[in-house]
């Protein structure tokens, strides 16, 4: 009996020790793992995406906003559809994206999530839902909408994905201000029951997302729209392959409009060739041709090597420089013409004479002061600035051709900025697009207007303005000029360098100017690449410039001048 009791005692003791050890195991050794497992079972952690900021025109209207959009996906194990339904699905979702689901079902059979198409609109989603297909699902997905369509594509850029699949801005404002537009995502951790309903007495941790800042730009959507529609019509009318229109307020450097064609749809950028993404106004260099004469003449007037009434004593015929013969554009020559007439006739020989009087050292110094050879500092991604050659590399022929705008490369925005100096009585503006950022209703000004004084004197600016007014009123483009308005401008027709020589057939026609000349409200540059109806700027770019200017006058309520 005693031995049986002893055995029972031992069994009980071992049992108690076993239970005790097991409890110690659960409560001491693996307790933290168990706690974690339990926590994971009932807590859910979600990333709260930050909404991307809008890009607005100066009247507050969004050029870019966010819209409701979906990713449509399939679960191959549950997906069931008859032939008719599949055909109807293909009308809404590109067949290319669903091909794996139908043509290689074995490859996707083990998957439970196959993305079919991104950025599906609400309307398309509703139509897909009406098909009643089993195994299809939708996930909300951020997407951008462009209420004004493609009119500002190059200016705003687009939103694509980075290497981690996160939305990232590329080109234009989306690229330059990506960090500010993106905001910071938040995170919520909360306890949920078996049916995913929140347990209120459970623990919660919520870090709210910080939405991206809205950008308020200086872009006037009416002027932008006018520039876009007029440029599109002009490309067709003149048979040009490409064109740009840039409008800037000279006193502040605010960009009022910037259009480049051919363009692309930023909402469907992947369908367009990638070489269209870059904005030619800031990244494509061209030889400005005769429009550059006003810059060289302004420099010569400032350096006082010429006066408006100074007469050229070597303008009676073609000039030979370093073995090259330089002629005027129409082979007409004007002996002893004044500097005002040199600009009016767009006289290459007269400009070579001016350039030689100025000399390469001084010319180079002025070009740098006008902002050539350096970035303009505009707040747009992908700006590039063609370099100016060092003084030691300049030959006589380089000085001669640069005097009438050939053999020197600039971007359209550099040209607008330089002419802005003339409109601004000698002060160099810094172009910019964004005026303020708005975060949670609070606005913060950015890009305060910056003017660098002393590029040329006020007197020289007034003189060149007068010469440009004369050029518009009496030059080759006078037929297209709107009656009664005081406009300072200059036409340009530049040959395009191809493989070390100039193509005789291909030109870039341009017109640059500002108005009203006595109180400039805007500087505008129009360029047309390879116009077919006429190669001359006076017959293509100038009429387009005046056509746009007329609409801007009406819109900005600018009346005709008394002194035309």
């Amino acid at each position: 009996m005693t031995s049986r009791l002893r055995i029972l005692k031992i069994v009980f003791t071992l049992g108690v020790v076993g239970i005790w050890l097991r409890l110690a195991w659960w409560q001491a050794v693996v307790a933290s793992d168990l706690r974690l497992q339990a926590q994971l079972q009932r807590t859910t952690s979600l990333q709260l995406p930050a909404s991307r900021g809008q890009i607005r025109a100066r009247d507050g209207f969004p050029l870019v906003a966010n819209q409701e959009s979906y990713l449509v996906y399939a679960d191959p194990q549950k997906f069931r559809a008859d032939r008719e339904a599949v055909l109807r699905l293909w009308e809404l979702v590109p067949p290319a994206s669903t091909s794996a689901l139908f043509s290689q079902p074995t490859q996707v059979a083990d998957l439970s999530w196959v993305p079919l198409a991104h950025q599906i609109s609400r309307q398309a989603k509703e139509k897909i839902e009406q098909l009643g297909l089993a195994g299809l699902g939708f996930e909300p997905e951020p997407a951008r909408m462009y209420p004004e369509g493609t009119t500002s594509a190059h200016l705003v850029g687009f939103v694509g994905q980075d290497e981690n699949g996160l939305p990232t801005g590329y080109f234009g404002l989306e690229g330059y201000y990506n960090r500010q537009l993106s905001g910071k995502p938040g995170r919520v951790t909360l306890e949920q029951d078996a049916l995913n309903r929140p347990i209120l007495i459970g623990s919660q941790n919520r870090i709210l997302p910080q939405p991206g800042a809205d950008l308020v730009t200086s872009v006037d959507r009416t002027i932008q729209f006018i520039a876009f529609t007029k440029l599109a019509a002009a490309l067709e009318r003149y048979g040009a392959t490409a064109g740009t229109v840039t409008v800037m307020e000279p006193s502040t450097g605010k960009i009022l409009a910037m259009v480049s064609l051919p363009g692309y749809d930023p909402g469907q950028y992947a369908r367009f060739p990638s070489d269209l993404y870059k904005n030619p106004v800031i990244s494509e260099s061209y030889e400005p041709g005769s429009t550059f004469k006003v810059i060289v003449m302004a420099a010569a007037l400032d350096a006082q090597v010429v006066q408006p009434d100074t007469r050229c004593d070597k303008c009676s015929g073609p000039r030979s420089v370093s073995g090259y013969t330089i002629r005027t554009w129409n082979d007409k020559y004007y002996p002893v013409s004044t500097m005002t007439e040199v600009i009016q006739h767009s006289d290459n020989i007269g400009m070579v004479w001016v350039g030689q009087k100025l000399g390469e050292r001084r010319l180079l110094g002025y070009l740098k002061k006008f902002g050539f050879g350096q970035s303009t500092g505009v707040d747009l991604q992908e700006e590039s600035a063609p370099e100016l050659r060092e003084q030691s590399q300049w030959r006589d022929i380089d000085l001669a051709t640069a005097s009438f705008g050939q053999g020197i490369a600039v971007t359209p925005l550099q040209m607008v900025r330089a002419v802005g100096v003339l409109a601004n009585m000698g002060k160099l503006p810094t172009p910019h697009v964004v005026d303020q950022t708005v975060t949670s209703g609070r606005s913060r000004p950015v890009n305060q207007p910056k003017l660098r004084p002393g590029v040329i004197s006020t007197a020289a600016a007034a003189q060149i303005t007068q010469m440009m007014i004369n050029s518009v009123n009496r030059g080759e483009a006078k037929w297209a000029k709107p009656e009664g308005f005081l406009i300072a401008g200059k036409t340009g027709t530049a040959q395009i360098p191809v493989a070390g020589h100039y193509d005789q057939e291909k030109t870039i026609a341009s017109f640059v100017g500002f108005a009203p000349a006595d109180d400039p409200q805007f500087v505008m540059l129009v360029t047309l690449r390879e116009p077919q109806t006429s190669p001359w700027g006076s017959e293509t770019a100038a009429p387009l410039w005046f056509d746009i200017a007329k609409e801007i006058f009406r819109y900005l309520k600018i009346g005709p001048s008394r002194f035309d």
């Binding site: 209207f61 969004p62 906003a65 966010n66 819209q67 409701e68 609400r122 909408m145 209420p147 004004e148 369509g149 009119t151 029951d193 309903r197 929140p198 347990i199 209120l200 007495i201 959507r221 009416t222 729209f225 529609t229 709107p482 009656e483 009664g484 308005f485 006058f553 009406r554 009346g559 005709p560 008394r562 002194f563 035309d564």
Partner: protein, 96 residues
């Protein structure tokens, strides 16, 4: 001393009962919160859709389309050039 112990026990019992009652009532409030959350999301979505429509229908591109469909003619403004002051327009008028 006995009273203190009794008080502690009573306070603990009351607090325990209160916690139990509160937990019991609040535990089902998750349903209400989930419903409110769903409603909020729905209204936000509706708001977003209305905003999208407002943006699209007040865009110049849309207005232009409507104008073309309605075959409206563009305005043709007439600019009246202001007359020059007499002294400027006729600088030699006072001369013999």
């Amino acid at each position: 001393m006995k009273k203190v112990y009794l008080l502690i026990v009573v306070v603990n019992l009351v607090l325990g009962a209160a916690q139990l009652g509160l937990s019991h009532r609040r535990a089902t409030d998750g349903l209400v919160v989930a419903e409110a959350d769903r409603r909020r999301s729905q209204l936000e979505l509706q708001n977003q859709r209305l905003l999208e429509e407002v943006y699209l229908k007040s865009a110049l591109v849309y207005v232009q389309k409507q104008v073309n469909q309605g075959q409206l003619q563009p305005a043709r403004p007439q600019f009246v050039n202001p007359a020059l002051p007499v002294a400027v327009a006729h600088p030699t008028a006072d001369r013999p």
